[in-house]
């Protein structure tokens, strides 16, 4: 036993009155080339409970879940489902045995209807072998009723919001009569109301005796929805505890293995001249009449609900979707920002919200990913890339950002989310930006890396960089921003100074 937590966990479960375990996993080991992803970990899921998995990026949570869901084959380990030994041959086998995974990247077919998506491969058929759409519809309605979901079964999945797609995925999992449901960060793209609905559904499932494994980075979700939780660190199992027995700090300590005292270390720095001034900025049909100033050394937080237009404002300032009217002044001069390269030539940098879609070149290595933006403006002579110098500087930036990798030729796809994010930040730092726009800079990132990124943002502001930071996480916005601009339905509803801002005031402005 490497960890005292394990004996503690054993003692606790011994004290409980003979718990009914749905799933018992022990001594799981999984090695990837160069990386020991799981080192003899364990997990025991009780019937009728929500079990959260906590840990930093790369702790092994997702790997363990992929093993449980039959996607990866473990190198060794024992698995018991409903008390019986089991060996899974692939995700389909897992599904048929009652283990369903609701993926972070949703796996639905957009052009097909909700009902078709749910019953795919199991379509009810009429006597002649044709798909019986009426029956399929009835079954879907019944299923949705059970789960309290209100979605038209005949609508195309492609037209649904992310939240509704997730509901469909959950319904699909339930339709397999799955006992074990795995949810990997299900709330990462949901608004507050949608999260509430999701939690209602999760509670319903719990009452029906299902076991739910819930991966999350959000501490408040843990306390709200989970009955117990297991912590992993560096591929090792640390402990399993009941959620009401511990505090936030206890969990962070278990996850990180050290104390994190200052979560949002925004330092007081001198605020300089106006570097960016938006006047009446409008993108027809998306947002209108957005005006604000950004000063050197200032961190301007943009708060608002998902879909309020906050990301669109950032995209317009950076020239991804040029404004239909209004002006942008950069360093006192009006600039028509019609493309990202125009924005970049004026010293702007933009870390986008979606790492996979608009950030990483997943097929390329860390070096290429780091250097791609700076090639616009430097390190090129007569068309040839000055690779030696560029590699050296890229490596320095990676080291300063503590990107964890054996070498820069590693494909970026092999990095954890937090490390990918650091590479992307490095990409922009290499361009030496004067104005930095960050859209959800710490989304899906573990506590340790989060604190590092916050410290870095603060340091950049100290060097006179003007920072615009969009975030859905209220503590982050409140802790990091000098000023907060609140957006609601494409309109700026107010500005709050650091001193006067609090969660209630932001929510009032954000929901009007």
């Amino acid at each position: 036993m490497q960890s005292p937590g394990m004996t503690e966990a054993a003692r606790e479960s011994g004290a409980a009155p003979a718990p009914d375990y749905l799933l018992e996993v022990a001594d799981v080991r999984k090695e990837f080339p160069g990386v020991l992803a799981l080192d003899n970990v364990q997990l025991r899921l009780k019937r009728g409970s929500v079990h959260a998995l906590m840990g930093e990026n790369g702790a092994g949570k997702s790997t363990l879940m992929k093993i449980v869901a039959g996607i990866y084959t473990p190198d060794s380990g024992t698995f018991k489902l409903r008390g019986k030994d089991i060996r899974l041959n692939g995700p389909l086998d897992a599904l048929e045995n009652g283990i369903a995974m609701i993926h972070q990247e949703l796996n639905l077919m957009a052009p097909m209807t909700v009902a078709e998506n749910i019953w795919i491969r199991r379509e009810p058929t009429s006597r002649f072998g044709f798909v019986d759409h009426g029956e399929m519809r009835r079954k879907t309605v019944a299923l949705f009723k059970r789960l309290n979901i209100d979605i038209d079964p005949d609508i195309e999945v492609g037209t649904l919001s992310v939240a509704n797609r997730q509901m469909v995925e959950i319904a699909k999992a339930v339709s397999y009569e799955s006992d074990v449901l795995i949810m990997d960060e299900p709330t990462s793209a949901l608004t507050e109301r949608e999260v509430d609905h999701l939690f209602t559904i999760i509670r319903t499932l719990r009452e029906q005796g299902k076991g739910i494994i819930y991966i999350t980075h959000k501490m408040n979700e843990l306390f709200e929805i989970a009955d117990e939780f297991s912590v992993f660190r560096d591929g090792k199992y640390i402990a399993t505890k009941l959620s009401h027995e511990v505090t936030r700090d206890d969990i962070i300590r278990m996850m990180v293995g050290r104390e994190i005292t200052q979560m949002f270390p925004k330092e007081e720095v001198p605020i300089g001249e106006v570097v960016l001034s938006a006047k009446g900025l409008t993108l027809k049909g998306v947002f209108s009449d957005v005006s604000f100033d950004l000063r050197a050394g200032e961190i301007l937080g943009i708060a608002g609900l998902v879909g309020s237009g906050r990301s669109n404002i950032a995209e317009t300032i950076f020239g991804v979707t040029p404004a239909t009217s209004g002006t942008i002044e950069l360093f006192g001069k009006t600039v028509r920002v019609d493309s990202p390269s125009t924005a970049m030539s004026h010293g702007l940098a933009f870390l986008t919200e979606d790492r996979k879609e608009t950030g990483c070149f997943l097929l390329l290595d860390i070096q290429e990913n780091t250097q791609m933006a700076v090639l616009q403006s430097g390190y090129v002579k007569n068309g040839f890339v000055k690779q030696t110098q560029l590699s050296k500087d890229s490596k320095e930036i990676s080291a300063a950002l503590r990107v964890k990798t054996p070498d820069m030729a590693e494909p970026i796809i092999n990095l954890s989310g937090g490390n990918q994010q650091k590479v992307l930040i490095g990409r922009w730092l290499l361009t030496k930006p004067k104005i930095l726009i960050l859209d959800e800079p710490t989304r899906g990132i573990d506590v340790g890396a989060k604190a590092e990124i916050h410290r870095l943002i603060s340091k950049l502001a100290g060097q006179g960089v003007g920072v615009i930071m969009i975030s859905s996480e209220m503590p982050e916005v409140l802790g990091m921003s000098d000023r907060i601009m609140v957006v609601h339905e494409g309109k700026v509803t107010g500005f709050l100074d650091r001193a006067e801002a609090n969660q209630v005031k932001i929510m009032e402005l954000a929901s009007h």
């Binding site: 560096d234 591929g235 986008t352 616009q376 040839f384 030729a409 954890s416």
Partner: protein, 347 residues
């Protein structure tokens, strides 16, 4: 806070040096050559490889395909495709030939332009290719139609233009100063045809361009993730125009070489060359979904095509059987390569 306070998220055991991806496709090439060598001794009683003339002809036969394939590889890396190369070869060959005729021909296309410097014929052929490629690029970049459709349109139209140019008549009796381009030289006792040299020079230039220039880096970036490329400040439209224009230019060059070798221009020249070029690129490890591919792989892929043709002829396999087997081998080579790459990703 010092670095070692941060817990490493994954235990790093050690990182292996990766072999370049061409190694496996080179192994396929060597394997195929060895099979022909063994079959050669069994069936024909002769060596397949120990024959300088044959080795030279293998590459000569595919050097035109190879020149096209170098351009097509770049297009495929951007997640596009160029179906017009074969037709552009035909059109460029016709235009170049029409400017390279001797005054011995009483029915020259341009009687007043016979016996002029072959430079004009070459430049005209290259210009036709560049123009066709630029049109492809503009269509794709500005109207956002899929490359498949844009280049399909060019494929049909360029072939039509090649036929219309002389109303279907071949252009014959070309000047020696032009046909010289298709000749061979003896270098250290090894017969080296000029088209082969041109092919290899083109390959080296674009190997360097893709690996070491901004042009190359952006080409990969666009194929790997166009959205991220745009946010990184890359002008995607402008870059695609360059890539397709270069592919067209190389097709034009291939057309000039074809006319020079055949000492004539025919409207049917280059039919289906685009497919061989795409096959060469894909055999060489270029991914049709973009972001992956190298010229070295394409060169090996091109040579594999040449070895197959030459080997079958050497073994006296009938032409029909050749095509049937060649198709299967192309698919098999890609299956093997993909399997190996998946293993590499997992391993």
């Amino acid at each position: 806070m010092s670095t070692n306070e941060i817990a490493s998220p994954t235990s790093v055991i050690g990182s292996k040096k990766r072999l370049p991806p061409e190694v496996s496709i080179l192994a396929v090439l060597i394997g195929i050559a060895i099979v022909f060598e063994i079959l050669g001794w069994i069936i024909v009683g002769d060596s397949f490889l120990a024959n300088k003339q044959r080795l030279s002809i293998i590459i000569l036969q595919v050097s035109v395909i190879g020149i096209i394939a170098v351009g097509v590889t770049q297009v495929i890396i951007t997640a596009g495709v160029d179906l017009s190369s074969g037709s552009v070869v035909g059109l460029a060959a016709m235009v170049a030939a029409s400017l390279a005729q001797t005054s011995l021909n009483p029915r020259a296309v341009y009687p007043s332009l016979t016996d002029i410097s072959p430079i004009w014929a070459i430049l005209a052929g290259l210009g036709v290719g560049l123009l066709a490629g630029s049109v492809n690029g503009f269509l794709i970049a500005r109207t956002k139609i899929p490359p498949f459709i844009a280049t399909l349109g060019m494929m049909v139209s360029a072939r039509g233009l090649a036929k219309w140019y002389t109303l279907g008549q071949p252009v014959a009796l070309l000047d020696d100063s032009f046909t010289w381009l298709g000749k061979s030289f003896n270098i250290m006792g090894f017969p080296l045809p000029l088209p082969v040299i041109v092919f290899l020079v083109v390959a080296v230039i674009f190997h360097i361009a893709l690996g070491y220039t901004r042009y190359g880096k952006f080409t990969y970036a666009i194929g790997a993730n166009p959205q991220a490329a745009r946010v990184s400040g890359i002008n995607i439209g402008g870059h695609l125009i360059k890539v397709y224009a270069i592919a067209g230019l190389l097709s034009g060059l291939a057309g000039v070489m074809t006319a020079a070798r055949a000492a004539s221009g025919q409207p049917g020249m280059g039919v289906a060359y685009e497919l061989d070029a795409i096959a060469a690129a894909v055999i060489g490890g270029t991914s049709l979904s973009g972001g992956v591919g190298r010229i070295t792989g394409t060169v090996i892929g091109t040579i594999i095509l040449g070895v197959l043709t030459s080997g079958f002829t050497f073994l006296k396999v009938g032409a029909y059987y050749q095509e049937i087997i060649k198709g299967m081998i192309i698919v098999a080579a890609v299956i093997i390569d993909q399997h190996r790459q998946n293993k590499r990703k997992k391993a």
